[in-house]
Amino acid sequence: MSKTMMTGLALAAALSAAGAARAADPLKIGVATDLSGTYASLGDEVMRATRFAVDEANAAGGVDGRKVEFKSYDTEAKPDLARRQVEKLVMEGYPVVTGMIASGEGLAIAPLMERWGSIYISVVNKADELTGANCAKRVFRVNTQSAMDAATVKPWLKERKEKKWAVVAIDIAWGRGSATLFSEAVKSTGKEMVAELFPPANTNDFAPYIEQIKKAGAEGVWVVLAGRDAINFAQQSKQFGLTDAITVAGVSFTTDGTVKTLGDAAKGVFGIINYSSTLDTPENNSFVKAWTEKYKVPPTNFEGEAYLGYQVLFQAVKDAKSVKTDDIAKALPGKAYDTIMGKLVMRAEDRQLLKPNYFGVVEMVNGELRPVVKTTVSAADVAPAVACKVN
């Protein structure tokens, strides 16, 4: 090939690339998540889902022909740090924000989305306020909120024989909210609450709390702990004989992620499941297959929910035919999305994605411990009442 022809080809390639770039700006996503704090293991799951979703989209020629890019910063699950990191991401040109773990982080940045011209899509924050009392414009949630978890646990609670219940919940917005909802469920099913305990994040010694649960005479305990706290509590409650003595159940407590670390300490523990790789739908099966090819293990609870977030976002960008946050924010609510969990609607009133929820128990399956779905509750049955007044 002659030299001039090479130059000509290169020039043409460069021109067409420039043309494409002009035609479609990339979709730039800012992932602010916990990479080194209490919830680092959950942050890791969010990052894996992010890489998977972004690679998959780009391999398929981008979202509506737009390349997807992301940048991530560590928030250490601290709301004040999250605020600084998100501001940085937005100002560096990554205005579609997602990935935060602790509810306080989401609540800290939610009121700023309008000022910064960005949008926030929660994939882990469970506190009801985020799409309820403190809901804000340009804030969306695809993951299951606490009220939906409470609606899921109530039928199970009704059937249980345990009369006296205790709660151990992390002392942040999520733990407080979930504990209140659980107590209400306990009382409404004619049972009694005997202890409500709120350890702070990053607690190493749960012995005093376990002691109080025993002393209160609880027959069952509801655990609202995640990440490092969940692992510490589960191990110590096994050591102190609590797990074997009374019924243990929880939310985000024994997930695919923690069960792997816990082994026997997690066996027989009941819990809410927000996503499971075992859901038998064609969409989910093909997702699990592609995921397992990439990472060698099936996707976890939080990986599934985070991936769900990207599915919803990408479809909204396609509908909006734009990566401008104004357009995406308009396109997102009030629409049904094709997802790994079926066709789900992003409710227009509070921008919460309505999804089914599951309840299960940690069991041995094919020689491996994992949370297994026992009850499925439909999206309509767990849909929380609309509390948001901002539209």
Binding site: P79, D80, L81, R83, M91, A102, S103, P200
Partner: protein
């Protein structure tokens, strides 16, 4: 007209040139600050600069205690948090007019520090460090545990009232405006400290720092002047906390945490706590080093740590101390 007055004063008293020079520098710096939004177009840079200036105010507060009282505090963030929380909680609950909340947020920490200062000034060394640490953490624990106050660990977002002191308060959350406000506050604070050091009370405080017994022996009150230094330092920390709370519309218990006090102390030492401007310069350099390292590596704390070790070993008097030495060396050359 001012220069004529200055010249007349200059002839009479030898102290005045220093005062005039301080005021001249301050005026120049203020003008530079007002021009900043026009010189810098990037909103990100302006916002980061605003946060760096807030850090600089806090570091100045810690550094001033070292400079004027010879005391190392590990709890200065208590007053930073107190300023922010007083404003945030009062505004969020609409207990008082926002202007009153603004003033209370400055007055309350200052008063608390003055009272504590009457005791703290008598204690030196490790005991002083431990005491300030304990008091600071006590405030942190209150903010952390008392969920009804401001939502504990989650922190609390609050909306600013429409107007404050007649200005549209939303402009206070615009980095282009806040950077000028914060910079002006810092410049005025540094100028004020420079003037205070020269004042009678400032000099008595310095005398107490150097030898309390002798200062008392020659008839000075040795309790009040150091306590005033504590109050001034707390005022600066509260001002920083107030600015941060206003700019962010958000308060969190981390504002009280000892790690923030510790970072401020490091900034002050790196910049040079023997100089009034040292801590502020140290804080700004530290802030941008941290930001720069954080962008390129996940192990940024290691990079920052290495730089800190190097600075401490190579510049025992801090960055400003080194600058002075270099300058003096150049002048002494023929």
């Amino acid at each position: 007209m001012t220069s004529a007055v200055d010249k007349a004063a200059l002839a009479k008293r030898p102290v005045m040139p220093r005062t005039a020079r301080i005021l001249g520098f301050a005026a120049l710096a203020l003008a530079l600050g007002v021009a900043m939004p026009w010189l810098v177009s990037s909103k990100l840079t302006l916002s980061l600069t605003t946060q760096a200036i807030v850090d600089a105010l806090l570091a100045t507060s810690v550094g001033f205690l070292v400079l004027q009282n010879g005391r190392v505090s590990f709890g200065q963030a208590a007053f930073f948090g107190l300023g922010g929380y007083a404003f945030g909680v009062l505004v969020a609950r609409q207990l008082v007019a926002p202007e009153v909340a603004f003033l209370l947020a400055l007055a309350l920490p200052t008063l608390v520090a003055f009272l504590l200062g009457l005791v703290f000034a008598r204690i030196a060394g490790v005991a002083h460090a431990m005491l300030t640490l304990a008091v600071g953490q006590a405030f942190y624990e209150i903010a952390f545990r008392w969920r009804e106050l401001a939502k504990g660990d989650d922190g609390m977002s609050f909306e600013l009232p429409q107007r404050i002191f007649g200005f549209a308060s939303s402009s206070l959350q615009d980095p282009a405006v806040m950077v000028v406000v914060a910079w002006s506050a810092l410049v005025l604070a540094l100028a004020g400290l420079a003037l205070f050091v020269n004042s009678r009370i400032g000099q008595i405080a310095a005398a107490v720092r150097d030898n309390e017994e002798r200062a008392r022996f020659i008839g000075h009150d040795t309790a009040i002047p150091p306590a005033i230094v504590y109050a001034i330092a707390a005022f600066l920390a509260a001002l920083a906390g107030l600015l941060q709370a206003t700019y962010n519309g958000y308060i969190a218990p981390q504002m009280f945490h000892w790690s923030l006090s510790g970072t401020a102390l490091i900034m002050a030492v790196v910049g040079g706590a023997q100089f009034i401007v040292g801590p502020a310069i140290g804080a700004v350099c530290f802030f941008f080093l941290k930001d720069f390292a954080g962008r390129f590596a996940e192990f940024w704390p290691a990079i920052v740590g290495t730089v800190l070790v190097a600075v401490t070993l190579l510049m025992p008097q801090g960055m400003v101390g080194l600058a002075f030495r270099l300058w003096a060396a150049r002048r002494s050359k023929p």
